[in-house]
């Protein structure tokens, strides 16, 4: 029992340490946002036939080097490519057009290709639809927990569950901040994944506590 408590303490200490490091990372460099969520630039090139995205990737790698570049096929005929990067200079555009002309036998003029400014996506706009459903689900869950585990103390169990859920989310965001994992399309699915697992962990822990409490009561009654 004592060994288990020590183990839990170590785990909590690690979690808190990661959260602190995460907070420092956010303070120093902020979150790294996925390219689609940043303000970026996009250019489209009409190839006129189906193409292999890997070939275009090779061209963009030559032009943009290590920079993150997003490639997407446009329209149903898949004969147009959209190239998105944090920034596209006129030289880079000209170079891409030249290489695309060589690769696909096109006769495109760099001037005929426009670079569009794409505004950033606000994280709060992405999170907004989740707020109310998550609040409702959490409140109903906490009511259930308060009823199911009232023998363990209503406030204590609610607090414990809340702490587990919050710590789990902070932990995952801190890991993202430390590792530079981009905030974007995968953030909410990851949050939901962690939420479900943290709830499972919380109820498993509370069930264990309830069992030992019941065993204790039975022992006391026997004595």
């Amino acid at each position: 029992m004592k060994q288990q408590t020590t183990k839990s303490k170590i785990i909590y200490a690690i979690i808190i340490l990661v959260i602190i490091l995460g907070a420092v990372a956010v303070y120093l460099k902020g979150f790294n946002f996925e390219l689609q969520y940043q303000q970026n630039k996009m250019m489209e090139i009409y190839i006129g036939k189906e193409f292999n995205i890997a070939d275009v990737r090779q061209i963009t790698n030559e032009v943009f080097g290590e920079e993150q570049v997003l490639l997407q096929t446009v329209e149903m005929f898949k004969d147009r490519v959209a190239i998105t990067a944090a920034d596209i200079t006129e030289e880079q555009k000209a170079s891409i057009v030249e290489k695309m002309n060589e690769k696909y036998g096109l006769e495109l003029e760099a001037d005929s290709v426009t670079i569009e400014n794409i505004p950033h996506t606000r994280l709060r706009d992405i999170l907004k639809p989740y707020v109310l459903p998550l609040i409702i689900a959490t409140v109903v869950t906490l009511i259930y927990i308060a009823i199911r585990y009232y023998k363990l103390g209503v406030i204590k169990t609610i607090f414990k569950t809340g702490i587990i859920a919050v710590l789990a989310q902070l932990f995952i965001f801190s890991l993202m901040a430390i590792t530079g994992f981009p905030i974007g399309r995968f953030t909410i699915p990851i949050m939901l994944f962690v939420y479900v697992l943290s709830m499972l962990y919380a109820t498993t822990k509370l069930e264990k506590d309830l069992e030992s409490k019941q065993a204790q009561t039975e022992e006391t009654q026997e004595v």
Binding site: V74, M76, P119, P189, L200
Partner: protein, 472 residues
């Protein structure tokens, strides 16, 4: 006998797995077609219709009469000197960040009201440019053509063009139906606020339909005058009098005249109903009319755009998450599960192997269930599927541990105990799934539905099939 039963069960799992993971292919003309329903993919997995709206910086030509009044081409009269002017569509003062933001809010509200359950809207505040991403479906084109409507509602005097009522007088609008023997008529119902109700009352009094008898009398008099050819001037005067007496209002949205009418009764209830077409029994026509009426209602309810926008771009852009990436992801998941099955088999021998076989059967049924219950697969849905696999694995692991711990004759009890212990623990997850099922936002409902069907299947499948497998 027991062995034969077991072989049959395993074969059943193989069959259902083949259907779910490979498909049922039938030759259709010159190609093989999978008869198993395909997955419905969400916007963040499949791709989106990307609509770019830019501030309309164009100009329009206006015609002015000698008094400076704006007239239309149709109203021009011969012998009058008209001047034409080029004016900007959006006035300089209207092009402010606040107006751009307000426009974005109105467009977002319109998207919600039009039932778009998954969208991304972003704005470049300095230029006002708005980029909207919506799912590529049958509604996409309708949304593109209506989303940037200014939504300027006006009731004007049909002759003088004096604006009698506008958007500020509207309280709400909705769609009504009336069924008669001829079919169903769709109406756009516009309800006005207190000020609007008062204005409508005054207008309906001022623009009341004149008694038919009076009009007829005038007309008869005019006809008589013509027939008798007494005095041509008398006839003209008589006609003019008739026109002067019958004043009409025109109801227009974005400058397009919807209806010109006078009022039979004084409108005291503060609402008007506009017929959107004739009574019809044609379902498609009716749906179109309902769709159009709903769109007009949405545009009116959300208010008019302070800045006029134009559709600059409208194209379908595929997601960078390709099908091959999804297949690789599924294969990676399968590999992890395979490792899990090896662990189960090593730890629980025959029971572990049978539980693994049963697990594969459940996974196969689950993917079929997802397809036939029309769950839209988004990234959130994929996470839900992964969670169901994890939960089912944990359950199987605990179940085997409980069975191993129990005596031979306590099989039933140990299974019951495992069910009770496990499903009590996942009640919060069930709550989350059910709440999410009722949300219309596609990524949320995708997660909720995938979790809901997964948990339901997990309970039923393990209670019936897995238990049966382990018994043998």
């Amino acid at each position: 006998m027991k062995k034969l039963q077991l072989v049959t069960k395993i074969l059943a799992v193989v069959l259902i797995s083949a259907i779910a993971f490979v498909g049922v292919y039938v030759q259709e003309q010159n190609r093989m077609e999978n008869k198993v329903k395909d997955y419905q993919l969400g916007m963040n997995v499949e791709g989106a219709r990307v609509i770019t709206l830019t501030v309309n910086e164009g100009t329009e030509e206006i015609i002015k009469d000698p008094d400076g009044n704006i007239v239309t081409e149709e109203e021009k009269q011969e012998g009058v000197d008209y001047t034409t002017e080029e004016v900007p569509i959006n006035e300089e003062e209207a092009l402010t960040t606040d107006n751009y933001k307000k426009t974005k809010q109105i467009i977002e509200e319109r998207l919600k009201r039009l039932g778009v359950n998954d969208y991304i809207i972003k704005q470049d505040e300095p230029t006002g440019k708005i980029i909207i991403e919506i799912p590529e479906d049958s509604q996409a084109d309708h949304i593109v053509s209506n989303i940037s409507q200014v939504g300027k509602f006006e009731i004007v005097d049909s002759k003088t063009k004096e604006v009698l009522m506008d958007n500020s007088d509207i309280k709400l609008s909705n769609v009504l139906y009336n069924q008669t023997q001829d079919g169903t008529t769709v109406y756009l119902n516009i309800e006005f606020n207190d000020a609007g109700t008062e204005k409508l009352k005054n207008i309906s009094t001022e623009y009341a339909t004149k008694e038919e008898t009076n009009t007829t009398t005038n007309e008869t008099q005019a006809e008589e005058a013509t027939n008798e050819t007494t005095d041509e001037t008398t006839e003209e005067t008589s006609e003019e009098n008739t026109e002067e007496e019958q004043k009409e209002v025109a109801l227009q949205i974005d400058g397009t005249q919807m209806v010109t009418t006078s009022f039979d009764d004084v409108m005291e209830n503060g609402s008007i109903q506009l017929s959107m077409g004739q009574a019809t029994t044609d379902r498609d026509k009716l749906n179109d009319e309902i769709k159009n009426a709903s769109t007009v209602s949405t545009v009116l309810d959300t208010g008019n755009l302070p800045v006029e926008y134009q559709v600059y771009g409208n194209e379908y852009i595929e997601s960078d998450i390709t099908t091959s990436m999804l297949i690789k992801l599924a294969m990676a998941g399968g590999l992890v599960l395979l490792l899990g099955f090896i662990v189960l088999t090593i730890k629980y021998k025959k029971l572990g192997f049978l539980a693994s076989i049963s697990f594969i059967g459940m996974a196969a049924l689950y993917v079929l269930l997802i397809r036939y219950t029309n769950v839209i697969i988004t990234l959130e849905g994929i996470v839900a599927i992964a969670l169901i696999a994890i939960l089912n694995y944990i359950f199987n692991y605990k179940l085997l541990a409980e069975i191993k711990k129990a005596e031979q004759d306590e099989f039933e009890n140990s299974v019951k105990e495992s069910f009770k212990k496990f499903f009590i623990k996942i009640i919060p997850i069930c709550i989350l799934s059910i709440v999410f099922c009722f949300v219309s936002w596609t990524p949320i409902s995708s997660f909720g539905m995938a979790m809901f069907w997964g948990i339901a299947l997990m309970i039923l499948y393990n209670a019936i099939i897995t238990k049966n497998f382990l018994k043998s």
